[in-house]
């Protein structure tokens, strides 16, 4: 059966993609940030995922206001990287696993999640930057299959933290019921606190971010008591991306332990953060 061996949460700021494209990882501004990923790379090497379930938010590449999903799940053979308006280099397409996608979609709909299925899908920096960060030696050939899940952060009303948590739980159950021996890592991307628009642009809330980093490991359901407006208030208008982290954490159905954590202010306008979590289910513990 497929197993979720762990999860990685990471910021996905476009400026990171730009720095990678311009090979600036060793610039003084960037070095402390990129160095923070060494522990994640080491963990990924031993985790050996076959599939990455990528929970992120489209920022206006694949979806527009004419048809704005709450939850969208990719079901394509591959996912395209495209120009998002800033002329950054486009990356190689990301392989999908359509059979797994449809298995997940069937389970989510059966669990009463009213998803949008996407058989042709472009994935933006919310997806591509974390892939670039976590697989820096990919050299054009992504070493995993991917399964995108995009959560609406663009057009309020957004799904609540509680709803996103439940989505994560359902994704976890769906993966664990898949009858192929796949090793799966769930990514949750975006955040942490930031705000780009309004006179509160530049808002960062370190105190709340640290609370989120602590709580998401040891008491994630406490986060489901927050409303979307709480997130806007405390984490900034774009800090609502923390919904992706909540869904990611929900997918870990076993015993969860923290492998690594990093917090770095600022990356662009954002409080940058990374979290690596291990998930040990009963099945995995028996096999060990």
């Amino acid at each position: 059966m497929a197993q979720i061996v762990g999860a990685i949460a990471t910021s996905h700021i476009p400026a990171i993609g730009k720095a990678i494209a311009e090979k600036r990882q060793n610039d003084p501004y960037w070095k402390p940030f990129f160095d923070g990923y060494a522990a994640a790379h080491a963990w990924l090497k031993q985790a050996r995922p076959d599939v990455v379930v990528m929970i992120y938010n489209d920022h206006g590449l694949n979806f527009f206001l004419d048809k704005m999903p709450t939850f969208a799940v990719g079901a394509a053979a591959q996912y395209r990287s495209e120009d998002e308006g800033w002329g950054l280099p486009v990356l190689n397409s990301f392989p999908g696993d359509a059979a797994l996608s449809w298995h997940v979609i069937e389970h989510l709909v059966a669990d009463e999640f009213d998803v949008v299925s996407c058989q042709d899908m472009a994935v933006d920096h919310g997806f591509t930057v974390p892939m670039n960060l976590m697989f820096p030696d990919a050299g054009g050939q992504w070493p995993v299959k991917t399964l995108p899940v995009s959560i609406n952060t663009v057009q309020h009303p957004l799904p609540s933290p509680a709803r996103c948590w439940k989505l994560g739980r359902a994704i976890g159950r769906a993966i664990e019921s898949y009858p192929k021996d796949l090793r799966v890592v769930v990514f949750g991307t975006g955040g942490l606190s930031h705000q780009l628009d309004g006179t509160r642009a530049g808002f960062i809330n370190k105190k709340f971010d640290l609370y989120c980093l602590d709580t998401i490991v040891r008491d994630p359901e406490a986060l489901t008591k927050l409303s979307v407006i709480d997130l806007v208030r405390e984490a900034g208008a774009q800090g609502v991306e923390f919904l992706n982290w909540i869904a990611m954490r929900g997918a870990l159905l076993g015993n969860v332990s923290q492998v690594h954590r990093n917090y770095h202010i600022p990356i662009s306008n954002t409080a940058g953060a990374t979290l690596v979590l291990e998930n040990r289910t009963a099945a995995q513990s028996q096999a060990a």
Binding site: L65, G85, V154, R200, A201, G202, V232, A237, H264, N269
Partner: protein
Amino acid sequence: MQHHDIPGTTVFDGEQAQKGYALNAMCYSFNAAANRDEFKRDEDAYCTKYGLNEEQRTAIRERNVLKLLAAGGNVYYLAKFAGILNLNVQDIGAQQTGMSVDAFKEKLAAAGR
């Protein structure tokens, strides 16, 4: 629609969306380089093509982010307009908060200490 008293923040809800559809549609088109080029060649004609109203046209002409937001713009699409102008998020952050870019960057750094 509920109004939330979060300082310096407009939640992009249905009310905002109704105001800004044409403006957001235009900015969404800027994903494609060909559209960005067409806009650069004749901004006025491009705004007409997308049916922007006077408030939105003025805000575009003035490159004024707060005015674009007030006219119903959503920052995710406005970011693509900013890209045409080679402005990044610190540039537009500085503009909206009335700071210099250096002061804005310093404010961000200070939030980390």
